[in-house]
Symmetry: C5
Subunit: 309 residues, 5 copies
């Protein structure tokens, strides 16, 4: 995620980090070059003048506007829903920690079921495991830090690690419940926190595994490309030498919107405009460690060259 | 569901799988042919010149834009709500499994009520039954795999199989509760999971049985067709020979959007852009089997030629 | 509700059932006739040429587009919210039935409180009562079928029958609770189902009693009418004899959208595009009877000439 | 709230009650008069011809369309959320009444805690108190009717009357709980109803105290006014004598949309298009009295000259 | 937050407080000046006439409209979600206070766990702490007033003060639970209030830490600036001397919308259109003090020169 204030004045036009410009540059260059050729030939190919009035552009533009507006909203909704799910994990894990620290009775803690620290860190490990699952990276190091070597080894063999860790937390809860350390009512409340975390994990899987229907993407790309490559024929007779410039501007906004939708539609990756899952995991782990009363908390995540990963 | 990266460059124009092009090809061909005839005749029929300016197109285009935008959103919302409901079934079933594995006491399990495995697999069977109900296919094979032959035979005779299976799970819960194996508070929490699954099933039925009001579909189809078939008369005088091409492009986007809405409006079918219910059911069953501690889990569902069913 | 596949080809233009055409025909006919008169007179009244350029149409069209788009969405949201509320009644009533069948202990059932069948059928009666209240029809026959003659007579004297029936179900729950047949925790869970049904009933009342603010409807109707009746003056000089046709097309889409909003804004009536409350009630009653173990279930509701009431 | 069917034909143009016309008449008259002066002078002031093409209108019109559409939706969302909150109060109060009537045991009712009637009427009083708070009117008469003279006197001295009444209901609940008349589980369920009512009251306060950001309103008003007062210069050369008429029509729709947003943005007042809080309070009180078994219920609220207050 | 009625007539154009005009004045001035230069030079630079028709403006305008509409909605949604979260804190804290005052038994209050006043004021302190965290100000004074000097000192050393205070409240709840003063069921209900407050705090953090993706902001700014600086070339040939005026009007609306989005996107600051967190905290603290039975309540917050902070 890019974290910076809005650049002002001319700096606005030279900000590259976080811009979609790099990813659309090839298509944009081809398009402008094509517009240049059309301008030089005055729209004539093989002695045949290809003349398109502006009428088709407003007609196709109508459909294009519907597409771009729709896809834009759909992609951003996915981005924001992804962020909301991680925000829910922030508070569900904090409420879980509060429950672990406040509601079981103290006596007998050593004798039955897991310790409080272990219960809290299991949830911290679950959050890391979900992040690694979404990004296809290796969760082992984070799991070892949270759970210790042995427990981590058992977890990494499971196919769905977040679910396995939540089940482990549930087993701890069951042990506390059966030994009488935790009132059934409060156990049920805490099970609801685990259910919320389960729901967040399933929600993230849903967003990651279900793209916007491919036919939309295809129809939108096709319409945008045809539109922008026809454009020089429609403009060359009135704009003459300015045609490539104007075509470039129009294509920049349309290709840019399109590419931006592609980028934020799947918000859990590691591109510049994706969600900062690393930072969110650090935040959650820090909160949980603070709830446990630890003193040496990790440093808050810092953006590096405007980017938080 | 189509699962593939966005094709680049010219490949973009030749991707057919998942495109709506095949389903609109007949109407599109007729429209372009008609535009060709109008072009050849210069808009004259029986020595009478039919001349339409572009004014009506921007007027009707206004209404058409409202329609297409509205229906597009409504159809996609249904698609995404369907996906969310299946996502909820993913987490409700996982939380159910966690409850079954963690909260009943062990003693006496053999003596009263069903075993844990049977309780978990009843929910797996329910998910398969719902899929078969939505797609109108035969649930028997999946039910036998999950429940055994005898139990499956009883279920298939019920009219609403998912509801019957959830009631069966509820009866198991009641047996555990009455025999004292499960605390009433935790039983209530687990009943809430069953209620969530009931809600998901009812939500899917709702989407499957209630289309977007027919009058909308009708008004939209009619407006789009009239618009595209009038178009050649409005363009022929300024575009001459390019008329069929431009009419084809405009009709492609309008008919395409329309057909896409038709396709994803009812997302539980087996068309290319529909939801991959088979894969989702395998995912759920695998999760539940892993929660039970099974080792030989089914392979994760794989897309075949970009398609996940 | 109209239940049919999309008609293809020319059949599309002759489908009348479910179309809004009948309800807008008078206004449409007057408008086209008026356009015909303007065409014949070439826009001259009393030797005075009334000439309107297309400029005002794009200006007013802007406001009209905002109106139509807004009202369209608002009306459809009401329709879909109405459908969702009935979908919630489907699952809340099924979960209620599961609760009644699974969680009270068997012993002493005859001695204290109502029987299970009576508890389930009270909710079936409530659903019918709500439908009759929303449509202003007589609930007596349905109540007698569900509750018996005597109990039905008591209910019909109440002003708010659904609330009275839910209170009756609550009293049964209280009786089970006080006699120790039902655990307080499960009783609370089942009371939550009654609260959901109460919420659905109140939601339906809300939609039925609160129209979209009248000033919107008024402003929209007025703008649409003025727009369509001014249109011939703006078109006659460029379209000549085609003016009535084009005016008719534009008016068809605008009046049609407007009339459709009027129709689905209040979705609980008995018009063709309204929700099929009769069928939904049969579905709910059938589900409940199946949960009770009854064998002779009512036939599933069938559309008659494409219409489900 | 205006409650009437849509007027047809010419009656549509003479319906004044509920129309925004009266509130925009001054600005509209000034605008039309100004357009008349511009028409008479042919756009010339001090021998200088002020000529504006239609280009700026489509450019500013773009921004105006975004504004009007956005503000329209935001204002209607506030209106509808306000209605939803009151709908939630309808069902939360009914579920509260069901709880009071069904779940406490009868024995000892006289000896500990408040009577059932007092518990139910406290919530009726809370609803009235919220309405009076939102409208800035005097709650005393309604409180006396619901609670009696003495209790009402104590309540009116509190700053936040609805919160005080809900706390009073909570104290009754606590008394029933501590005396063993009500199971803790059911007490918790009923406390959740009180929490819902607290949430509704806070939601209404939120809408009443937080307008749409003032800068939006300002920017929208300014743009709409500049647009409509520049319009005559853009139209006078092509429309001549029809200029004031067309300016009046455009201004009517733009000023009307704007004024309508102003009106329904704060939906708890007593203007014609505001929510009928009086009627809703009568509905709630009637429901609660019927739940108590009272026979002489108040008459249902009736619209007077199409208006429900 | 600006709290004032809509100014009428000419006053509308001179209202500056709350307007975005001051923040866009520099860019606006440069743009108008540039338009003036273009006008004087008749669009000729170095004897070369730069002529742009209006075609590109409608094409780019299309993308700009999508952008502005999208970003406007996204920014306002963030604003309104922020307000909703604070509204939830209002009612969750009131329900917490009701729980503290009504449901624990009185006996033994002095002997075990914190007093009621301390439990209520801990939540008041949490609300202040969240506000100071969001605005980066010093929470000490408010914490001392709510908690006393000593307790405040302990809290301010914690990194996440709101979470620490909620954990403290949870510990009080645990003490009441373990000493038998509070029924477990009611304790669970009250823990749910703490979970709601945790969720609100996490929601506010989410909005504050996650801006709208930077690439959107960048693309929008760039498009709007290019659009407005090209505009004089498109207008100078038809509008002549009026060009700077019209460019100024168009730029005012586009830059204004853009700047307004920037401002309300992050609604927890102290700018004029931000949320009045100070006033909300006073409202919450007053509610809680009134629930405790205090008589000398703070004065309700008053707007100063139309501004509530």
């Amino acid at each position: 995620m890019i974290v910076r204030d809005r650049p002002h004045g001319l700096a606005l036009f030279f900000a590259m980090r976080g811009s979609v410009l790099p990813s659309i540059l090839p298509a944009l260059a081809v398009n402008v070059l094509f517009a240049g050729i059309v301008t030089v030939l005055h729209g004539e190919f093989l002695d045949h003048k290809i003349q398109v009035t502006t009428v088709p552009f407003s007609l196709i533009g109508l459909a294009l506007a519907i597409f771009l507006g729709f896809r834009n909203s759909a992609a951003y909704d996915r981005y924001w829903e992804g962020r909301k799910l991680w925000g829910e994990m922030v508070h569900a894990s904090r409420s879980w920690a509060r429950g672990v620290m406040c509601y079981p009775t103290n006596h007998g803690e050593a004798s039955a079921g897991p310790g409080r620290r272990s219960m809290v860190m299991t949830v911290a490990a679950m959050v890391h495991a979900l992040r690694h699952q979404l990004r296809g990276t290796d969760a082992r190091a984070d799991l070892v830090r949270c759970l210790g070597d042995e427990a981590a080894s058992q977890v990494v063999r499971r196919r769905n690690m977040p679910a396995a860790l939540l089940q482990q937390a549930g087993q701890g809860l069951g042990a506390w419940l059966h030994s009488g350390q935790l009132d059934p009512q409060l156990a049920a409340t805490m099970e609801n926190r685990l259910a919320e975390l389960t729901a967040c994990a399933a929600g993230c899987e849903r967003i990651a595994s279900t793209p916007i229907p491919f036919a939309y993407t295809l129809l939108l790309h096709r319409t945008a490309y045809i539109y922008c490559f026809l454009l020089p024929f429609g403009l060359v007779d009135t704009l003459h030498g300015l045609t490539p410039l104007v075509v470039g501007l129009v294509a920049y906004t349309f290709f840019g919107l399109d590419a931006l939708g592609d980028e934020i539609e799947d918000p859990f990756g590691t591109k510049l405009n994706h969600l900062p899952l690393d930072a969110l995991c650090v935040t959650i782990e820090t909160s949980l460690r603070e709830a446990l009363g630890e003193e040496n908390l990790p440093a808050p995540p810092q953006a590096e060259r405007y980017v938080l990963t």
